[in-house]
Symmetry: C2
């Protein structure tokens, strides 16, 4: 028996259905309310938007009648005149990357709290479709949060010129940004490893286009210098499980007893492949990731990682965004630095 996937449309529908429902009744407008209440449309409008502007009694009556009729203000009509759509866009490189989960959550919650709706656009790691998505959504929204944009700074500026914008995990001079404190986070990781006796660390690099990758590597490098460590770096990897797996070879080729990976996905992939090759983590090598994504606690072994305040990042970004949305003139804050926190699990241990 075959699985019926697309049952064809049934053509007899029209005639049959016409009996059940008489007509698609168009929803009541402000005119209907005005007529029913015996006032002008302007009064109805103001009863909602400027409660002080009309007599309290009148306003109450209008609202009651609107309620009865089932009136709901048409957001498009409002937007046409005011420009206020109550829509915000959050552009993420990849919705399926757990890194964005809590960011989305935080952003959405903060937006909803202020009466805004979040439009989440997934651009599948491509600058091209990111531009496309912006084209589509920019005219609709009042503000923009770019989480890990893959576009150039100048493309971002173009967008930022059109709508208030906040970027995440990337620092720009003329666009407000929110980043986690990668320097401190990285240092915490290094100190943790040093405390366990490690004297040599390999960094598994992420995408070259990543601003954050640069920061993490540089800090690691500096810290290494200061503390007299031997620090190495692999070739850039895609920030995925597969990227991590394919870095195993390079890692095993080094004598480093500790590995710091660009992010958790990479770290988890690496652990998998190391295990497959008979290398024990943390017995033979210690592994640290970044971000503390979903899964970092139930992979094997549970991952020691520099946790990013993902949810707070999303929420904070929206907060900053909303500050700008009202004002005519764009406000650029200096980068907000959110604290990172080292979470020690079982992928790190004493050096061999």
């Amino acid at each position: 028996m075959a699985h019926v996937t697309t049952p064809p449309t049934r053509p007899e529908e029209d005639a049959a259905a016409a009996t059940s429902e008489p007509a698609p009744p168009s929803p009541p407008t402000i005119y209907d309310v005005a007529k029913a209440a015996g006032v002008a449309t302007s009064t109805v409008s103001r009863a909602f938007s400027r409660p002080g502007r009309v007599n309290a009694e009148t306003a109450a009556r209008v609202r009651r009648i609107a309620e009865e009729i089932g009136y709901r203000t048409n957001p498009m009509a409002r937007a046409l005149h005011t420009g206020r759509t109550s829509l915000l866009a959050l552009v993420v490189a990849d919705v399926t990357n757990p890194f964005f989960f809590e960011i989305i959550r935080g952003a959405e919650a903060a937006a909803a709290e202020k009466g805004y709706t979040m439009l989440v656009a997934d651009v599948q790691e491509s600058a091209e479709s990111e531009r496309l998505a912006l084209d589509r959504t920019l005219p609709l929204v009042e503000g923009l949060v770019l989480a890990t944009s893959r576009m150039s700074d100048s493309s971002i500026r173009v967008a930022a010129k059109q709508r208030p914008t906040v970027v995440l995990n990337r620092v720009m001079t003329d666009v407000t940004s929110v980043v986690t404190d990668n320097r401190r986070g990285t240092r915490a990781a290094v100190e943790h490893l040093v405390g366990l006796g490690h004297r040599s660390i390999t960094y598994v690099a992420g995408p070259e286009a990543s601003w954050v990758d640069g920061v993490r590597w540089r800090t690691l490098h500096e810290a290494g210098q200061e503390l007299g460590l031997r620090v190495r770096r692999t070739a850039p990897q895609a920030p995925t499980l597969d990227g991590g797996r394919s870095a195993a070879q390079a890692v095993l080729a080094t004598p480093s007893t500790a590995v710091v990976a660009y992010n958790d996905l990479l770290a988890i992939g690496l652990c998998q492949e190391l295990a497959a090759r008979g290398t024990d983590v943390p017995g033979d090598r210690s592994v640290v990731g970044f971000d503390d994504i979903f899964g970092a606690d139930f992979c094997s072994p549970p991952l020691t990682t520099v946790a990013a305040p993902l949810r707070a990042t999303g929420a904070h970004a929206v907060g900053l965004l909303l500050e700008q949305v009202g004002t005519r003139r764009p406000v650029v804050h200096r980068p907000a630095l959110l604290p990172a926190r080292l979470v020690v699990r079982r992928s790190t241990g004493p050096a061999r």
Copy 2:
């Protein structure tokens, strides 16, 4: 060259700000294009929407000029008149649940391909905020996909009356739905376990409000009867890692050698807790999940699971939705059944 648009009496804002940027230039409208091209606005409009309706030459000229000026049609103005917003909403119970990743991806891709933008709304497992989200988004969108709605059938019908709607993982008589073939999937899991010698299975139940939970349990129960198995069921659990952990106690209290969990999250949580209590999986108990979410392959042990065609589900739902969007009269298809597939990994093994 300046195309003087509509000179809206702009009382030259504060002098101070005027230094940085001259003025927030309002984007060009159809009027600007019309004037520049020396035609009426209707011609401009039709040059885009009804290319056949105007002289090909004129149309080309208009479009060229529009391009030069940087004209983009204002979606709100269009929507106000036509009702077409090119927006679809996908309501998910929990964006941070990996179950939805590929559904979102599939839906978004299918929507984008047809020129629609997906609005993803997270309702945090609450019927209350689901209603709220619908209130906010319903007037904006042309169609609705409800993935695992937590609302009652009647609430769903109310929404479906206002906009074309497709529900996922739930079967309703008068709303189009897309579900995975849970019956076959469940049977496959049971047969797999029986093949390994298990004669007694415990089902770790999911939320009572879940339609899918009912199907899975009933099928499991039936299959048990037919095959002469001993089948038990735990109390309902939240479909999360924690839910899985807290089910461990109940599972250990049974003599069942195999466990089928409502979903992967539950299964993974259960495995964790079993491990913590010294129970070996699959040595002492075999565990099967549902859905094959992100993480099912790298948890410990990698999970045997009934994989749902998540991406196809999302895409298919949008396909069905878009069929209805054009038509005035709602079309209800019968439920589309998408095939499930058993993925055997290492959480199942021979019965003790």
